[in-house]
Symmetry: C2
Subunit: 192 residues, 2 copies
């Protein structure tokens, strides 16, 4: 089973709930590619419609895979060589369909997911049984736009702490997208 990640910069929300395109964040590409490589993910698509930002992705990847960075840190090269820019989520799906012979099951994530229709345990099982490629989608900014959530095949439950633990459970849930991606991969593919 081939598993892919998408880190989406558009369409996502800003803190006022408006649909925007966010800027590429260097440390996202580093951290998420390292997590992806550690958990055996096929490819990370950095999704942005902005041509200049797509070129920045290529420059960062180039520096660490064929440039000076590759010599300094070969382990980083192994992670970075699985990163590609994509102009849209649809473009990423098309690339996956071309590689795998069928379009991926699109699974979206959000820190607020009132309409969740997939559990982590359920998807973990499914990943071991199905042959269809899977694309797991993460939003930058204040999360994926509602249209993206609605259009996906599956909507994963928000990552939360065990409510049975400790006195304080006030719903604070503001992980960085780097942390959320790492936790998601561990929930789906980790040896616990």
């Amino acid at each position: 089973m081939a598993i892919f990640l998408a880190l989406v910069h558009h369409p996502v929300l800003n803190k006022r709930g408006e649909v925007v395109a966010t800027a590429l964040t260097n440390v996202d590409v580093h951290d998420i590619s390292r997590s992806a490589r550690s958990y055996g993910i096929d490819r990370l698509y950095v999704v942005t419609p902005v041509t200049l930002q797509q070129r920045m992705v290529a420059e960062i990847v180039g520096h660490w895979t064929v440039g000076e960075g590759a010599r300094l840190n070969p382990l980083r090269a192994e992670a970075m060589c699985r990163v590609t820019a994509a102009s849209s989520l649809e473009a990423a799906c098309s690339a996956i369909a071309e590689q795998c012979g069928q379009p991926p099951l699109v699974v979206v994530t959000s820190a607020q997911m009132p309409d969740a229709d997939a559990t982590w345990q359920g998807l973990r099982k499914q990943l071991r049984q199905d042959d269809r490629p899977v694309l797991i989608v993460f939003g930058t900014g204040w999360g994926l736009a509602p249209d993206v959530l609605a259009a996906a095949d599956l909507r994963l439950a928000a990552i939360v702490r065990d409510p049975g633990f400790g006195p304080e459970d006030d719903g604070y849930n503001h992980l960085s997208v780097r942390s959320a991606t790492a936790i998601a991969l561990d929930r789906l593919l980790g040896s616990h």
Copy 2:
């Protein structure tokens, strides 16, 4: 049960295996404090013997808790107000002992832990049963120095992917400390 985190900048290893002090990394403080707050952790100690770096921790925390950042992003203030610099792991333990009335159980983590004597499931259960405060320790750079691992009360197994999943399992294990901390908190305190 009170749970604390330590992010250690000395003594840790560099890539040549030498014991060094690493530099403070701003995004570590942001990401790990957000994860800590999301999972109900009491406090994050940023451990560095370098006085100037301790002052930098205080400046970052100040900016986001009483400075301009607090106005821009009150949620970040809630995470950052739980961050303190400590000059050593011993100093962090003393502060916890003073707060809780007893010294913490010190639990260390590493991406390479041949002498592990604690499992994630085991510690997860223990956190729900014991009253003793727990300090979970993460190393920057290339990981905690061997002396720190040996001196701890418990050594957690390395975070790895499920070996039963997929064809590729070559032992690549190079998560950022931000990602590793997020995964650790989710394994111990997450609602899976």
